[in-house]
């Protein structure tokens, strides 16, 4: 049911863990819907120099966290903000339609972590697309 890439990131997750004294932290999802993701970022000169995740969730949620942290590492905050859940799913060589909501969580986690950093540093938070944790499965969004 999962692509080889998903299974690879599930079996060998990249960037698993938490950054101590992280510059931005985003925790999204809730135990009721079955996926929770915690993203922590190390940011230097407006650039993400390290990204880590901890995830409670299915195979797709864990693989999406792993891939999302890979994709944003090294990017400026502006570039990282543009990493969509679609990009995460594509980099994973696709997700089953009912699992797309798990990749949404990764995008939300990154956004929340970036905004937490911005607020902490006296910057305007950027506008987020969806309220955290409120997503429906299979809507492709």
């Amino acid at each position: 049911m999962y692509s080889e890439k998903v299974m690879d990131h599930f079996m060998n997750p990249r960037n698993m863990g938490e950054i101590e004294n992280a510059d931005g932290i985003g925790e999204v999802g809730n135990p009721v819907c079955g996926d929770i993701m915690k993203i922590s970022l190390k940011i230097e000169d407006n650039r993400i120099v390290d990204a880590r995740f901890k995830t409670f969730g299915c195979g797709a949620a864990i693989a999406s966290s792993s891939m999302a942290t890979e994709l944003v590492k090294g990017k400026t905050l502006e570039e990282a903000w543009e990493v969509s859940n679609k990009a995460v799913a594509e980099a994973l060589e696709g997700l089953p339609p009912i699992k797309m909501h798990c990749s949404v969580l990764a995008e939300e986690g990154i956004h929340k972590a970036i905004n937490e950093y911005r607020i902490k540093n006296g910057l305007e938070p950027w506008e987020e697309k969806t309220p955290y944790g409120e997503h429906t499965p299979g809507d492709g969004a």
Binding site: Y2, M7, V32, C33, G34, F56, G59
Partner: protein, 391 residues
């Protein structure tokens, strides 16, 4: 690398067809292909084979052969029992009583009947998954035409007080249907003693083939047909018979019910050793369902702080097959309705693992799971933002 042995612990999902069953079926897939409705010799052979299988089923259930009807499996039988009784008795009443923990073959059929104007009461269950008989009594009205309670639950293995429910139903002169799909071969069944009017069964759950099952219908029960067409099954279930399937079902039920107790002794012992090992080795773990009133091969365990599907994926890497009540395998955001009905919080329901043992298992499978599972749980907990090691 040496090929790993498959550790199949999903017997509640389906079972491997017994080799003796396959052997019995083979002739009916080639030389004995005759349509039992025809007039010539090979047609006779087919007809006799069907009737002999019917006898075997009747014997296993304590029924009369004329009360057994073959269907395409548990789903069709449940649909037939519920829709058939509802539509045939709607002048008498429009109320049906069932439980919150039935299989979807019953629940979705009930939801359909609600759209057709019937009223359905979904009885709650206690923390172990057992229906409360006083709640059942209270739910009965003069409109109640049918009570449907499953014999044993497919997820948590809980066995219901079927004889008591049958007694209540018969005292109120209400038809009683039970989905016994998980019970055959695990619990001795006697439709007379338990006052059962309709009983669903499915061959692939007791080492028979898939796509074949049946419905016991007590003589005199008012029930409409579900499938309309030819005059097969004494004009009650149209469609050319799945002869090989029926023959296989007959053989399978004979084998599965020949000596239920000693057969299950081995499986129950392995299950109990597995349970003790898991609860002993892995903290923050609990058994779902009832300790004793439980199918002999069933284990359903929740592991806190982790999610079921990822557990299954990792177990699969070791050749271990299980199942889960987590939402992410069901395609909805809701975890198993059964686990919610016994009162589990969502996050605990998401972390459930069902292992169902059966004929495929040996002691070494238990050893294998006891070696692998603690590592799998530990690994996922180390990834979980909910878990603090000092908890």
């Amino acid at each position: 690398m040496e090929k790993k042995r498959l550790v199949y612990m999903d017997h509640a999902a389906t079972t491997m067809t017994h080799s003796e069953v396959v052997r019995t079926m083979m002739p009916y897939l080639n030389e004995r292909f005759g349509n039992p409705s025809s007039i010539y010799g090979i047609a006779h052979e087919s007809k006799e084979a069907i009737e002999s299988a019917r006898q075997k089923v009747a014997k296993a259930l304590g029924a009369d052969a004329q009360e057994i009807y073959f269907t395409a499996g548990g789903t069709e039988s449940d649909n037939w029992a519920l829709k058939g009784v509802a539509f045939a008795n709607k002048k008498k009443g429009n109320h049906i009583i069932t439980t919150k923990i039935e299989h979807h073959a019953v629940l979705h059929t009930c939801q359909y009947l609600e759209k057709q104007g019937f009223e359905v009461t979904y009885l709650p269950v206690d923390a172990y998954g057992i229906v409360d008989l006083s709640e059942l009594e209270k739910a009965i009205t003069d409109q109640t035409i049918l009570i449907s309670v499953m014999y044993a639950n497919n997820e948590i293995g809980t066995i219901q007080p079927i004889a008591e429910i049958g007694k209540i139903a018969s005292e109120h002169e209400i038809y009683f249907h039970t989905d016994a799909v998980q019970a055959i071969g695990n619990i001795p069944i006697d439709v007379e003693a338990a006052n059962i009017d309709l009983l669903s069964f499915s061959a692939h759950k007791f080492y028979g083939p898939k796509g074949i099952g049946g419905l016991y219908i007590r003589k005199g029960t008012r029930i409409d047909n579900l499938l309309h067409g030819g005059g097969q099954e004494r004009k009650r279930r149209a469609g050319t018979e799945n002869i090989a399937g029926i023959v296989g079902l007959g053989k399978a039920i004979e084998l599965a019910t020949a000596d239920i107790d000693s057969h299950n002794l081995r499986i129950r012992a392995m299950r109990d050793r597995l349970l003790a090992g898991i609860l002993g080795q892995i903290p923050h773990t609990r058994l779902n369902g009832h300790q004793e009133k439980r199918l002999p091969g069933n284990l359903n365990i929740s592991f806190e702080y982790i999610e079921g599907e990822s557990m299954l994926l990792l177990l699969d890497q070791y050749g271990i097959c299980g199942s889960t009540g987590s939402a992410c395998t069901s395609g909805s955001l809701e975890p198993s309705h059964v686990l919610l009905a016994i009162g589990l919080p969502h996050e605990i329901a998401h972390g459930s693992l069902r292992l169902t043992l059966g004929d495929a298992n040996r002691e070494e499978d238990v050893d294998c799971v006891l070696e692998v599972l603690p590592k799998v749980v530990e690994r996922l907990r180390s990834m979980s933002p909910l878990y603090r090691p000092d908890q």
